[in-house]
């Protein structure tokens, strides 16, 4: 026990002595948590639309002002021709082109039917789909207005109408930041804990100081605990600052769930992650290798954790991969507890899996760790 205490003292001192490292460990995550949620907003708005109005009628004017007033679209420009509009799309100045054909008003009145042409930049398929749907909706509303105006109300046989009301639970203001802040916090804590842990041990390997420790009567488990505990503490600390200092004070996110439950999960999660860092370090000879491997895992973890993109939509094999990453579970759990107040019952399965990760990764790392090389 005494040995462990001295080891811990040494580790903490080494961390706090490194003046170059401290700001990266403590400030980088906090600053990123302050700024990045503002950037991670997928709500589709401000779609740039170019209108090619070949009709120049009262009808087309009214349609255009209805589109501009909808709040979804920003009139990028009026183009003289479709080709001019297309040129703007090539230059990313416009996402959508609406072409109103010549004689739109006249034909609509005379022939009872008229087409509008829409071209959409579909490189981002979801944006394209939604943009098209919004525009269609506006045109349908506009169409209904015209019908009302041109047809005497008495003769009008009302169409069947299904009124759809939507009620949004847990986040009625639909604030995307509530969703992003806890998720990004998880990633930042994950990166700090796993990188630091992996690098720290490999650094001792590279510098040769690990040999010195190995010849002392320090036990394997003491050495490993001495390495893990400081980063576990740092992880807990950063998470708390992020959750209360940034999430609560800055973004006004009050965790609705049980904090004991959240911290309980966090503890197990950090143990699992540190196990991963430890495992990486046992396989690497240089810091560069450790870093590259950690980087690989981190990128896969981040992009496939459901943090930014939905994971249920992935192909089955890819979904299976997401289920092999501890980050996926914690991103889900933190959002569940903080935003929805989920109980232990709801996350029992997640707890079980995370405990499994912790046991598996750590035992693997310890077995692979050789005191004598």
């Amino acid at each position: 026990m005494r040995t462990l205490r001295f080891l811990l003292q040494k580790e903490f001192r080494q961390i706090f002595r490194n003046k170059a490292l401290l700001p990266i460990i403590f400030f980088a995550p906090i600053i990123q948590l302050l700024v990045l949620p503002l950037a991670a907003d997928y709500e589709i708005k401000n779609i740039n639309i170019t209108v090619v109005d070949n009709d120049h009628s009262g009808f087309s004017q009214k349609l255009i002002s209805k589109i501009a007033a909808s709040g979804y679209f920003k009139l990028a420009d009026y183009a003289g021709s479709f080709n001019a509009g297309f040129h703007q799309m090539e230059n990313d100045k416009s996402d959508l082109i609406l072409e109103i054909p010549q004689g739109f008003e006249r034909n609509l009145v005379r022939e009872n039917e008229q087409n509008l042409f829409i071209a959409i930049n579909a490189i981002n398929g979801v944006k394209a789909n939604l943009g098209g749907a919004y525009l269609n909706q506006i045109i349908a509303d506009y169409n209904a207005d015209i019908r009302l105006k041109w047809m005497p109300a008495s003769k009008f046989n009302p169409m069947p109408a299904i009124e759809v009301t939507t009620s949004n639970w847990f986040n009625p203001s639909m604030n995307y930041r509530y969703y992003m802040v806890p998720g990004i916090l998880v990633i930042l804590v994950t990166m700090i804990a796993s990188y630091l842990c992996a690098l720290n041990i490999v650094k001792e390997k590279e510098a040769g100081t690990i040999e010195q420790i190995n010849v002392t009567p320090i036990r394997k488990y003491q050495f490993i605990l001495g390495k893990l505990i400081p980063f576990w503490v740092i992880g807990m600390f950063i998470f708390s600052v992020g959750l209360f200092g940034v999430g609560w004070l800055v973004y006004g996110i009050v965790p609705v769930g049980n904090l004991v439950l959240l911290y309980g999960y966090l503890s197990v999660y950090l143990i699992a992650l540190l196990g991963l860092g430890l495992l990486i370090s046992t396989y690497s000879e240089t810091q560069q290798q450790a870093m590259s491997v950690a980087f690989f895992f981190m990128m896969v973890f981040i992009l496939m954790s459901g943090l930014f993109t939905p994971i249920e939509s992935m192909p089955r094999w890819a979904y299976a991969i997401t289920q092999c990453s501890p980050v996926t579970y914690f991103v889900e759990v933190v959002r569940m507890i903080v935003l929805k107040g989920s109980s232990f019952e709801n996350i029992r399965y997640h707890f079980l899996i995370m405990t499994g990760f912790a046991v598996l990764l750590n035992s693997w790392a310890i077995l692979n760790y050789r005191k004598t090389s």
Binding site: A122, G125, G132, V164
Partner: protein
């Protein structure tokens, strides 16, 4: 010149001697481009929903059938009580509940008007929004079918054409983004360590006392990484085209030229980090902690840049990957020529010049 070549050779040997690192450097981009190319999508499919059908009539059944027919929804079960809805949301198993009130069909028949409620788990507002708009659209379709029996006067139809990506494949958007991300991060990561490592090992001193121009020292250090990155780029491109089915509609020569420029930008950035840090650990932490998430967000392939607050849009301008992403899209997908990307190319060139200049300045200061 001869000295320089010897030097470059030495650096190459350095890089190639470390087989493990080399394997990682080549393996990672391959795995990642395939993984992300196939897996990443912003589409929301197979969302589990619950239907509370208090009506159990013709109309509700027809709408339920329609909901089930597409790929968006998987109907999980029929719940009846409100408490059960809340606990289902809390367990995270479902995202949307569709509630049909009693007498749904008879309301529709007798009053030509019926109500339907959607309850979403808005802790994820994006999914909630998308799912409720999918569901509303399906209900609209059903309504139009009902109305379809009458001929409606003054009808405006829309003809929609999806340009550049008619099949709406997610890969078309994500591949150029992932390409920019991988090239940037791998380059920065590799070079950020290079000088700092020599500093840590003390071998830098040896270099500095040699009668060798410090600028050439820097250049010779980056050349192997430049070559490696070009090989990486080729592998990524081959995979994108032959495995993921991405088009290269524009000039491949132009793509290579601009990519080389981008790689040099990234390498200079890595060098700057290397020049300004004292240990490998800080160099790597800066390049990863400081760059990984910001690059993902500010490249613009994940979240549209034009939605961000103005200050963040300004910040995004200093992320080289943003400009490269625009260039790759323009050349590969839109098939445009240099005239369309000269601005982005100029910006990347400017960044490179500035970074190199700062590097040389910093390096000289250390010499003195």
């Amino acid at each position: 010149m001869k000295q320089f070549i010897t030097f470059v050779k030495k650096e190459f040997l350095h890089v190639f001697r470390d087989r493990k690192t080399l394997l990682i450097l080549f393996g990672l981009p391959i795995v990642q481009i395939v993984l992300f190319g196939f897996a990443l999508t912003n589409e929301i499919k197979h969302s589990r929903i619950v239907v509370c059908d208090y009506a159990r009539d013709n109309a509700s059944q027809q709408i339920i059938n329609k909901l089930e027919a597409g790929t968006q929804f998987v109907i999980e079960q029929s719940l009846l009580s409100h408490d059960q809805i809340e606990s289902a949301f809390k367990s995270g198993k479902i995202k949307l509940v569709v509630v049909f009130p009693a007498h749904f069909y008879s309301d529709l028949q007798h009053f030509n008007k019926a109500q339907l409620q959607l309850i979403t788990d808005a802790s994820d507002p994006n999914t909630a929004n998308t799912l409720s708009s999918y569901a509303s659209r399906i209900v609209m379709d059903y309504q139009n079918e009902l109305a379809g029996q009458h001929t409606i006067p003054y009808r405006i139809n829309t003809v929609i054409r999806m340009i550049y990506n008619p099949e709406l494949k997610a890969a078309v958007n994500f591949i150029p983004g992932v390409m920019s991300l991988i090239l940037l991060l791998v380059c920065v990561l590799m070079t950020s360590v290079s000088i700092v490592k020599e500093k840590e090992n003390g071998t830098m001193e040896v270099l500095l006392v040699s009668p060798f121009n410090p600028i050439l020292v820097i250049i010779s250090k980056t050349i192997p990484y430049l070559v490696l990155s070009l090989v990486n780029l080729s592998v990524i491109l081959l995979l994108s085209v032959f495995v993921l089915g991405m088009p290269v509609n524009g000039s491949i020569t132009l793509l290579y030229l601009v990519s080389t420029l981008f790689i040099i930008t990234a390498l200079s950035l890595g060098l700057l980090i290397s020049n300004s840090t004292a240990s490998q650990q800080s160099a790597m932490l800066i390049s990863l902690m400081g760059m990984l998430i910001p690059s993902i967000l500010f490249t613009g392939f994940m979240f549209p840049l034009e939605n961000m607050p103005y200050a963040l849009q300004l910040i995004s301008n200093i992320v080289p990957a943003k400009w490269y992403y625009i260039i790759v899209k323009s050349i590969m997908i839109k098939g445009l020529g240099f005239s369309a990307i000269w601005k982005e190319t100029l910006i990347l060139s400017g960044m490179t010049v500035i970074l190199l200049f700062v590097n040389i300045r910093k390096f000289k200061i250390r010499l003195a």
